[in-house]
Amino acid sequence: MAVSPVNISRVSQGLRTNFVLDALRRNQRDLFLSESQISSGRSFVVPSEDPARAARSLDLSEALLRQQQFAANAMHGDNFLSAADSALSDINALLVEASTIASQMVGSLSSREEREAEAEIIGSMRRQLIMVGNREFNGRYLFGGRDTLTRPFVDGVGGILYQGDVGEMFTRLSEDLSTAVNVPGSELFGALSDPITTEVDLTPILTDGTRLDDVTGANGQAVPRGTLVFNEVGGAGVFTVDLSTVDTIGDVVEAINAAAGQAGANVTASLSDTGISVEPGGDAVSITDLSNGAIASGLGLLTPTPSSTTIEGRALTARVTRLTPVEALAAGAGIDLESGFIITNGTLSATIDIAEATTVQDIINTINNAGVNVLARINESGTGIDVFNQASGTSLAIGENDGTTATDLGIRTMNTATPLSSLNFGDGVGNLSGQTDLQIMAKDGKSFEVNLDGAATIGDVIDLINAAATAATVAVEAAFATTGNGIRIEDKTGGTGTLRVALANLSTAGIDLGLHPQTAGGTAVELLGNDVNPTRTEGIIGALTDLENALRGDDTPGIASAGDRLDGLRQEVTRIHGIIGARAQTMTAKRQQLEDAALTTKAFLSQVQDLDFAEATTRLQGAMTRLQATLQTSTLVSNLSLLDFLR
């Protein structure tokens, strides 16, 4: 604000005029400012009036916008979850009804006709269930995972097919919190089988081209990027290796060697199948991280104490990816590509030929395109391939095609190590304790009995059969099938009768092992057992299909088993209902919280932005008084003149 100095010796006419003009200008500006503040209701009209407040106000407006968006996101999640929640209530009601029917029909009082009629009802319930599974919300399928535009459940050949995705959709509830808003149908309806699990580990060897992103570090975590610090004690001294942009393991080795060469250090890095090793050329070498990095430990090379012997990096684990070369799989052992394998799913069957496969994706694509309703993908931990049965109500079996392909890939549904307890969907094998379970009749008319006591796996059963055959001196040999799955019994007696497995002591073991009621007569000398360890979907639709079939087939144990499954599934649905409920609640709570936060932000914003009217009016009043005083005094003073007194 302009101020005229008061310590001046004389006052001229011009000075007085300037002073009055200046005072008027200042007062009028103050008035205008107060006026504009009051009329706009803001404590500052342009940011430069108060840059600090303006910055704060921008920050707050920005935060407010975001909070409102996050609240909208929570609202979206809430809506989607609520739709799923109501669908789940419907599913639960259907399940209760189906369970009730199962428990009513399992009794011996129900007639075949009644069961037939109830089967119709169960069938319609199953269709209702599929309708719920295909329910839409705002034009998006609720239970298709992220595949929201594809009808998740379709009536396919041999069963209800789940075509949806298995992933979750997320919405952001804060800068660093994303929450799932859906439960995929695969989980809710159990519409995909459990993957076929074996002990096979397909972890590939490291190659130059293995990407660092596809490697689990020596410390069990992803390998971060960073800089290695080498110290060749007594030699080249300290040099660093910048690995901030390396892409592959080969790049790492190259970068170390290049940096060593540049520093004049006698250090050589090389890549083995499982890690990186560093060879000092004489002088001892230490390897550490730069400041807070973790790449040295990630690569398994952390060597704080200088070492003059070879530094063998700790093992790195490469993950299987779709682009992993087939020959690198299983620690470089590769797999039997030539033979292929056989997939049987319900009535569908296909022989998978992967002779041409060069990468994992070739195998996966071949399986997925076989048209047998299976889904193959690399497992979460990147150690192998998972194969799922997509169809509800069918059994999936994968067996060899006279080779070891399926075994190598870890997707054979049954082998000699399969525990008996897991057979027949976990029902196991009937075994009469202390009594013989099988009677094997050879073609030459001889027979022998087998006691399965103590057998835990299919291999044990084969051994017991062979031991019993030897003991009984019957030239019969059991082995595991090389094509398909199952126990294979070969008759070497040269007889002309029929080879068959009879049930001894009413034991169900023969059926449970898949050996009864097959026979090998005429010229055939081999009896081929069934695959009794297939995979099926354990979900609601499968259970209802089984119940319907059992009711139609008047199969009391089947009705009981399906009923039990339905009871188990009710708990599963309740669990998922709980998850969805909890998520919906989180969403609601979060929304509430965000809306509260937005309110608080608004209050802050108004504190920062809004005008204190009392203060502003006081200021306006002050400015008005000043202006009035200026006008009055200046008129008064300028009217005084000596000239008026002259005559």
Binding site: M1, A2, V3, S4, P5, I8, R10, V11, S12, Q13, G14, L15, N18, F19, V46, P47, S48, P51, A54, A55, S57, L58, D59, S61, E62, L65, R66, Q69, F70, N73, N138, G139, R140, G144, G145, R146, T148, T150, D165, M169, F170, R172, E175, D213, T245, V246, D247, D251, T321, R322, L323, Q361, I364, N365, I378, Q609, S641, L642, L643, L646
Partner: protein, 585 residues
């Protein structure tokens, strides 16, 4: 005889002197309203008379010996300096007030709001990526954001051009003023030659002109013995005696914008200005307009690069059947990270995934295309396996590996991909999992990107997605409900910018906007301070050189009375003379 002659002479001198003194007072009073006027004071000196008797000297009356201008030349110099500073500060103040209004987002219609709101659209896109309406909104938001960038940049550019235009006008004014001062110098030295008194009104006129000139530039003045003044700008003389060197506005184009510079007309040497309106305008033009354009361009480039980087790793609702890169390279045979290739964003060694889908079965077949940029000589199209990757070698490596999609280099050195019949393709996905482009080459070449353009002037929504919003890459695993990549794009609002690294993109704009407010507040304070200084100095100047009517009235009374007394004295002398004459009869 002494009595008669000398007394009449005394009376006469007084009558004449006071008449002139009153004239001066009259002039003062009449000029009281003129701001350029310097008050005059008459100097009255006694006249030495003849001796009376032996050694008595009664004096011979009074004479008006000088009329001098009451002026403090040193103060005048300070006033001129203050005028220059005040004018410079005012010029910046008014320029910054405009700049501030361009940036002002308190009304919620500026670039800042657009930028904040733009990222929020990606949250909506993540929520319902299948919704075509939301995709349209995202495109609309992108367009509006681009438009806001264009507008702000245009406003700043226009302001700069406008300020530059003013400079030219003002330089012409300054040239005129210098010429007039030189002319007046000539007139003053002629008028004052051989005389004791000053050519007051001419000097007042000249002082007014110098003050006007000092509004435009920081001038210093040195008076010469002949009454002329030399006017200096910095250490260079602009006016010497009756000659002006002349000033010239020279318009040159630097980059995209014009910049006018001030030169001496005779030597064409640049005039170094330290203050005044012209310097203020130049500073406002360079620092407040053009420099901010550079900042806005940088921000726009970061928005383009950061968003494109994430976008290039995602997939739309449907795969591509063909796509052409938005950005060209200067030389398709140069290593992609070299200046010869001229890509705007950083590219490193690494690789990207392209997944070819069989249209009939949707079977995905993934390929990884390597990019090697290790400082080795560029590889060739015929042997892409060794050396640094070039656009040509990238295309041949792609075509060597990938089946179902053909890459090519367009006539304007952009990359183009086209699927064979029965195939389509996506990036950033290997058929099961998301796979980021670790080389950054897709974003750098503008393949599968959101924005085209390189700065605030040419930023725009990439034509590919503008034509088909379903190609906005919201997904990370090519599923319609998958909005993971949209979520990543939304988080760019608060994540540290990968390109600019000092903060998030919204923060960076806010920082720029705050800096503007702070500058404007600073300019306001500067303008206030310099105008305070000026008015204080002007008050001092007025207090010395200004006319006070009461003073003048008192002086007038004094001279009137002295005149009246002298007239009376003449009457007395006349009477005495009469007495003497009557003695003769």
């Amino acid at each position: 005889m002494g009595l008669m002659n000398s007394s009449l002479q005394i009376g006469r001198s007084a009558i004449l002197s006071y008449q002139s003194a009153l004239q001066t007072i009259g002039n003062n009073i009449s000029s009281a309203g003129s701001p350029d006027y310097t008050r005059l004071t008459p100097q009255l000196d006694p006249l030495q008379g003849e001796l009376i008797g032996r050694d008595l000297q009664p004096g011979a009356g009074v004479a008006l010996t000088d009329i001098h201008r009451v002026i403090d030349e040193a103060l005048e110099g300070r006033v001129r300096l203050a005028i220059g500073q005040q004018e410079g500060a005012a010029a910046r103040q008014s320029a910054l007030a405009q700049v501030e209004s361009f940036y002002d987002d308190l009304s919620g219609a500026g670039l800042g709001s657009r930028l904040s709101e733009f990222w929020l659209l990606f949250d909506e896109l993540q929520n319902t990526p299948e919704d075509p309406a939301i995709r349209d909104l995202v495109i609309g938001g992108g367009r509006q954001l681009a438009e806001s960038f264009h507008t702000l940049r245009g406003q700043l550019g226009a302001l700069g051009e406008d300020l530059d235009g003013q400079i030219e006008q003002l330089v012409n004014n300054a040239d005129d003023l210098a010429r007039q001062i030189a002319e007046l110098n000539g007139e003053i030295s002629t008028a004052e030659a051989g005389r004791r008194s000053q050519a007051t009104s001419l000097r007042d006129q000249r002082d007014a002109l110098i003050r006007k000139l000092s509004e435009l530039m920081d001038v210093t003045v040195k008076e010469q013995p002949n009454g002329a003044v030399n006017v200096y700008v910095g250490s260079e003389a602009l006016v010497q005696g009756a000659d002006s060197r002349g000033l010239l506005a020279v318009h040159s184009i630097e980059g995209e914008f014009g910049r006018t510079s001030v030169r001496f007309e005779d030597t064409k040497q640049q005039v170094m200005l330290g203050g005044g309106k012209i310097a203020g305008l130049m500073q406002a033009r360079d620092e407040d307009a053009y420099a901010r354009i550079a900042g806005i361009d940088e921000l726009a480039a970061a928005v383009i690069a950061d968003l494109n980087h994430v976008h290039a790793d995602g997939q739309g609702l449907s795969p591509f059947t063909e796509v052409t890169g938005e950005f060209d390279v200067l030389n398709a045979a140069a290593a992609l990270d070299s200046a010869a290739a001229g890509l705007q964003t950083t590219v490193t060694s690494g690789g990207f995934y392209v997944t070819v889908l069989d249209t009939a079965t949707q079977t995905p077949v993934a390929y990884r295309i390597e990019v090697t940029l290790d400082g080795t000589p560029p590889s060739t199209a015929t042997d892409p396996s060794t050396g640094s990757t070039t656009l040509d070698s990238l295309v041949s490596a792609f075509n060597e590996q990938v089946e179902g999609v053909t890459a090519s280099v367009t006539s304007d050195n952009r990359i183009a991909f086209a699927a064979d019949t029965g195939y389509s393709f996506v990036f950033g996905f290997d058929g099961q999992a998301p796979r980021a482009d670790s080389s950054g080459i897709l974003a750098a070449l503008g393949v599968n990107v959101f924005f085209s353009g390189t700065n605030a002037a040419n930023i725009g929504v990439a034509e590919t997605i503008a034509n088909d919003p379903s190609l906005i890459a919201a997904a990370s695993v090519l599923l319609p409900g998958d909005g993971v990549n949209a979520g990543r794009m939304a988080s760019l609002a608060t994540e540290r910018s990968k390109t600019l690294e000092q903060g998030s993109l919204t923060e960076l704009f806010q920082a720029a906007s705050n800096a503007t407010a702070v500058s404007a507040a600073g300019a306001n304070a500067d303008a206030d301070a310099s105008s305070s200084i000026l008015s204080a100095l002007q008050a001092q100047k007025e207090s010395i050189s200004g006319v006070n009517l009461d003073e003048e009235a008192v002086a007038m009374l004094k001279f009137q009375r002295a005149f009246q007394g002298s007239a009376r004295f003449l009457t007395v002398v006349d009477e005495l003379l009469g007495e003497l004459v009557s003695l003769i009869r």
